[in-house]
C-alpha cells in the first residue's frame, strides 16, 4: 500500500538513471541518513560509539570493498586483512614521515598503497580462479603478516612492532571525541558507498558482473578480463585499505600487525557471504551481523541466565557465544544462501504486493 511505485513515471533519461528510482527508497534513505547523522549523536552513549558504532561503520566500509571483489567480480579473496594492513601501515608511514601531513590525504595515500598491493596480488587472478585464487590471495595475507612484523622500516623502527598515532585533525577540527570519530567515519562511509553504488551500476560494474557470471562469455563479447579483474582488485583494495587505515587510526589508535591477521580476512569474507554477495546493502547487513552479534550475545546471555536465577561464568558465555554464532551462520546459509540482503529484497517484494498478494 505504501510501498508501490504506481504513478511514478520517468520522463527523462536523467530520472530513469537515478541511483534510487523509487520515491519511497529516496525518502527512506534520507530518513536513515538523518537518523545516522543527527539522531544517533543525540542518543548514543560513549560505549555505544566506541564499542559498536565506530567498528560497525569501519567494518561496513571494509565489507563493501570485499563485496566489490568477491560479490561483484567473483574473485574470491582471503587477503582482505592484508589490504587493510597495507592501508593502515601505508597511511601511518605517510602520516609520521611527512611533518604536517593532514589526515585525509594520509588515509587516501594509504588506500593507494593498498591499491598497488591489491593489483600486485590480483595478478594471479588472470590465470587461476575460484578456490585456487583464494589460496593465492591467502599468500598476500601471510606476506603482509611477515612484512610488517619483520621489516622495521614500515613500523618506523619501533622495537616491538607496535605503532600508534595521535592528534588526529581534519581541517583544524580535532578527531578525539567519540562523536567526532563516528561522524568522520560515517561521512567517509557514505561517500564511499555512493561512489561504489555508482561504479557497480555503471559500465565497469557490468563488466565485473559479466566476468563473475561467465568469464569466457564476457571475453567473447569484448570485455577484457585483465582490465576488469585488475580494476576490481584496485577499487576493492583501495576501499579496504581506507577502511584499514580508519580501523587503525580512529578505532584502535595503537596497533600491531596481529590486528590485521588472517582472522580478519575470514571475518570480512563471512560478512560478504552472510550479508549477501553482490549487493551494496549486503555489506552493511553482514558487517552488522558479524560485529554486533557476538557483543550482543556476550551481554545478553548473562542477562538471560540471570532472568532464570543462575549465573554463568565468562568462559561459558564465551563458548556459548561461539556456538550460537556458528549455528546462526549455518542456519542463515541454509535458509537463505543469498544472504541477508536477499531477505531484504524479498521483504520489499512482499511489500509491493501487500495487502493483495497473488
Amino acid at each position: 500500500m505504501f510501498y508501490r511505485e504506481n504513478g511514478q513515471f520517468k520522463t527523462s533519461y536523467r530520472a530513469d538513471q537515478q541511483i534510487f528510482p523509487i520515491a519511497q527508497d529516496r525518502i527512506a534513505l534520507a530518513l536513515l541518513l538523518a537518523v545516522a547523522f543527527l539522531v544517533v549523536p543525540m542518543l548514543a552513549s560513549d560505549y555505544f560509539y566506541r564499542a559498536i558504532l565506530i567498528p560497525l561503520v569501519i567494518m561496513s566500509m571494509a565489507a563493501l570493498g570485499v563485496n566489490i571483489l568477491v560479490g561483484y567480480c567473483g574473485q574470491i579473496s582471503l587477503g582482505s586483512g592484508a589490504f587493510m594492513a597495507v592501508g593502515a601501515y601505508g597511511a601511518f608511514n605517510f602520516f609520521v614521515r611527512f611533518p604536517g601531513m593532514p589526515l585525509i590525504p594520509a588515509l587516501i595515500l594509504g588506500g593507494l598503497c593498498a591499491t598497488f598491493f591489491g593489483i600486485l596480488f590480483g595478478l594471479p587472478s588472470l590465470r587461476v580462479k575460484g578456490l585456487y585464487l583464494a589460496v593465492a590471495t591467502l599468500a598476500a595475507q601471510f606476506f603482509s603478516d611477515w612484512m610488517f612484523l619483520r621489516i622495521k622500516w614500515f613500523t618506523n623502527n619501533s622495537d616491538s612492532g607496535s605503532v600508534s598515532v595521535n592528534n588526529l585533525q581534519v581541517l583544524g577540527m580535532s578527531i578525539d571525541s567519540a562523536v567526532s570519530k563516528y561522524l568522520f567515519c560515517l561521512t567517509l562511509l557514505v561517500i564511499v558507498a555512493l561512489l561504489a553504488k555508482n561504479l557497480v551500476r555503471g559500465a565497469i560494474g557490468r563488466e565485473w558482473m559479466a566476468i563473475r557470471d561467465m568469464d569466457v562469455a564476457a571475453a567473447v563479447i569484448g570485455i577484457r578480463p585483465m582490465y576488469a579483474k585488475l580494476s576490481a582488485f584496485a577499487v576493492s583494495s583501495f576501499i579496504i585499505g581506507m577502511a584499514g587505515a580508519l580501523w587503525a587510526f580512529v578505532h584502535l589508535s595503537a596497533w600491531e600487525p596481529a590486528a590485521f591477521s588472517v582472522e580478519i580476512s575470514f571475518r570480512l569474507l563471512f560478512m560478504v557471504i552472510i550479508g549477501g554477495m553482490g549487493s551494496i546493502m549486503g555489506a552493511f547487513f553482514g558487517a552488522t551481523f558479524i560485529v554486533v552479534l557476538p557483543i550482543f550475545l556476550n551481554q545478553f546471555l548473562p542477562a538471560l541466565a540471570g532472568l532464570f536465577g543462575f549465573e554463568i561464568s565468562t568462559a561459558a558465555v564465551s563458548h556459548a557465544e561461539l556456538m550460537i554464532f556458528g549455528a546462526l551462520i549455518v542456519w542463515f546459509l541454509i535458509v537463505e544462501p543469498h544472504g541477508l540482503a536477499k531477505l531484504w529484497s524479498i521483504g520489499k517484494q512482499k511489500l509491493r504486493l501487500w495487502p493483495f498478494p497473488h
Binding site: S45, S160, S164, T314
Partner: protein, 442 residues
C-alpha cells in the same frame, strides 16, 4: 523465506539494541574492579588461574575485612580471548561503571591500545610483569604501571644469571644465545635490552621468532639444531611454552640450557611435558604454594565457604598467586589513595593513580598482609612506576618448581638510559611534554 521469519529476525535485532543500552544502576560506596580476562582461546590454560586469583583476592578482602575501610569491592569480568579489539570493547564497556579503580589489561597487545585511551579517561593501567618496558618512566607515562618488572628487567636478570653460572659476566664473550620468542610485541619487547647486553659482553644473539600462537615450531628448532646456541631464552606464553619444551626434547637440546621468562614458568607450561622438561629454568616473579598466609586466608574465607573461583587445588599455583599479587597491589593502591583523599570513600581513577604512585610496601607490611616469601618489598614513586625489579630463577625438577635462593635485581645502569631514551622518543613522537614535579602531587 516467510515474512514471519523476517519479523523474528527483526525482533532479535531490536531486543539486542535494547539490552545493550541498559545502563548500570548507580551504586554507592562500592569500588569497582573491572577484570579483563581470557578463559578461552589458545592462552586459556594460563589465563584462567591468573583470572581466578584476581577474583578470589577481591572476594577474600570483602569476606575478611569487609572491603577497604568499609568500602565494598565489586568486580565484573569481561572475556577478551587475548584479542585486542575485544579487549578494547571490554574496556569501553566497563570504564564508565561507577567507582572504577584501575584496569589490568592482561595482554600486551591490549595494553598498547589502552595506553592511548587511559590518559583521556584518566584511569590507571596496571601491567604487572608485562606491557611497555619504557612505561617505567612515570614522568612520561603518567597512567601506566608496569609494577614489579618489565620484559627488560626480566631479560637483564636472565643474562645476569647465565653470566653468574658461567663464573662471571666476562665469560659470556663468544657465547651464542638464541631468543625463541612469540612473534608479537610481547615477544619482541626484550630484544633492545638483549642487544645492549650483547654489545656489552660480546655474546652473539640469535633471534628465532615463532608465529602466534606458537604451536608450529618445527622450523625454529631446526634452526636451533643447526646453529647450536649455548643457551636458549624462551619468550613464550600459553601453548607455545609446552610446545617449545617438547620440541627441545625432540631436538635433543638440553633443557638445562633453556631459560624462560616468568610467563613461561608456571605449571601449565611444564605439566604436560613432565619429566621431559626436567632441568628447564624460568624466571620466578613471585613465590607459589599454599603456605603463605594470604593463600590460607583465601582458602579459609572464600574456598571453604564454597565461593571460590575455579578449582580449589589450583589455589596457590604460580599464576594464581600472581593474580593475587596483582589484585593486592590494586587494592593497596586504593587503600593508599584513601589515606590521602579520605578513608571510607570511593576513589576515582585519578586518586587511585596517586595511590599506585605512592605505594610503600616494606617487609613488615608484606608480612602483615601474609605475603611473606611471595614477593619482595615494593615502593613506587612519581618517576618510578615499577617499584621493584627483583626476581628469582626457578628450575623444574619434573614434578614441581624449585625456586632458587638468589634474588636478582636488574641493572639500573643499563636500564635507566634505555628507559629514558625510549620515553623521550615516545614523547617526541607524540609531541607530549614531560610531567613536572608539581604534577606529582596531584
Amino acid at each position: 523465506m516467510k515474512l514471519s521469519k523476517i519479523v523474528i529476525a527483526a525482533t532479535v535485532v531490536v531486543a539486542g539494541a535494547a539490552s545493550l543500552s541498559t545502563s548500570a544502576l548507580a551504586q554507592a560506596k562500592e569500588q569497582f574492579f573491572p577484570l579483563l580476562s581470557y578463559r578461552t582461546g589458545p592462552y586459556a590454560p594460563n589465563g584462567t588461574p591468573w583470572a581466578n586469583g584476581k577474583q578470589d583476592y577481591l572476594k577474600m578482602i570483602n569476606a575478611r575485612d569487609g572491603g577497604i575501610n568499609g568500602v565494598k569491592l565489586t568486580f565484573e569480568e569481561c572475556e577478551t580471548g587475548y584479542a585486542t579489539d575485544r579487549g578494547v570493547e571490554c574496556y569501553e564497556r566497563l570504564k564508565s561503571k561507577p567507582g572504577v579503580a584501575l584496569f589490568d589489561p592482561q595482554a600486551t597487545g591490549i595494553t598498547f591500545a589502552l595506553t592511548e585511551k587511559a590518559p583521556v579517561d584518566k584511569i590507571p593501567l596496571m601491567t604487572l610483569g608485562y606491557g611497555l618496558s619504557v612505561a617505567q618512566d612515570g614522568m612520561a607515562f603518567k597512567w601506566n604501571f608496569p609494577l614489579m618488572g618489565s620484559y627488560w628487567t626480566g631479560a637483564d636478570i636472565l643474562i645476569q644469571h647465565i653470566g653468574k653460572g658461567l663464573g662471571g659476566m666476562d665469560k659470556l664473550k663468544g657465547k651464542k644465545i638464541a631468543l625463541v620468542y612469540h612473534d608479537s610485541p610481547f615477544g619482541k619487547e626484550p630484544i633492545p635490552l638483549l642487544q645492549e647486553r650483547s654489545k656489552m659482553h660480546g655474546f652473539e644473539l640469535q633471534m628465532l621468532p615463532v608465529t602466534a600462537p606458537g604451536v608450529e615450531q618445527k622450523a625454529t628448532w631446526l634452526q636451533v639444531r643447526q646453529s647450536r646456541p649455548d643457551y636458549v631464552l624462551l619468550w613464550g606464553w600459553g601453548v607455545m611454552n609446552s610446545t617449545a619444551l617438547k620440541e627441545a626434547q625432540a631436538t635433543g637440546f638440553p633443557r638445562e640450557k633453556m631459560y624462560g621468562v616468568w610467563w613461561a614458568g608456571a605449571e601449565p607450561d611444564v605439566r604436560d611435558v613432565g619429566e621431559g622438561a626436567k632441568g628447564y629454568h624460568a624466571l620466578a616473579l613471585n613465590g607459589s604454594g599454599t603456605q603463605p598466609k594470604v593463600i590460607q586466608d583465601i582458602l579459609k574465607n572464600v574456598h571453604d565457604k564454597g565461593q571460590g573461583t575455579g578449582p580449589k587445588d589450583e589455589v596457590g599455583s604460580v599464576l594464581y598467586t600472581r593474580g593475587v599479587i596483582i589484585q593486592m597491589l590494586g587494592v593497596e593502591g586504593v587503600r593508599r589513595a584513601q589515606e590521602r583523599f579520605g578513608k571510607g570513600k570511593v576513589m576515582t581513577g585519578e586518586q587511585v593513580r596517586w595511590g599506585l604512585e605512592n605505594l610503600a610496601l616494606d617487609q613488615k607490611k608484606l608480612d602483615a598482609m601474609g605475603f611473606n616469601g611471595v614477593m619482595r618489598p615494593l615502593s613506587t614513586s612519581c618517576a618510578d612506576h615499577m617499584g621493584s625489579t627483583w626476581a628469582r630463577v626457578q628450575t623444574w625438577d619434573g614434578k614441581k618448581w624449585d625456586i632458587g635462593a638468589d634474588w636478582y635485581q636488574a641493572d639500573e645502569q643499563i636500564l635507566k638510559p634505555m628507559v629514558k631514551a625510549g620515553s623521550e622518543k615516545y614523547m617526541s613522537d607524540k609531541k607530549l611534554t614531560r610531567r613536572d614535579t608539581a604534577d606529582c602531587q596531584s
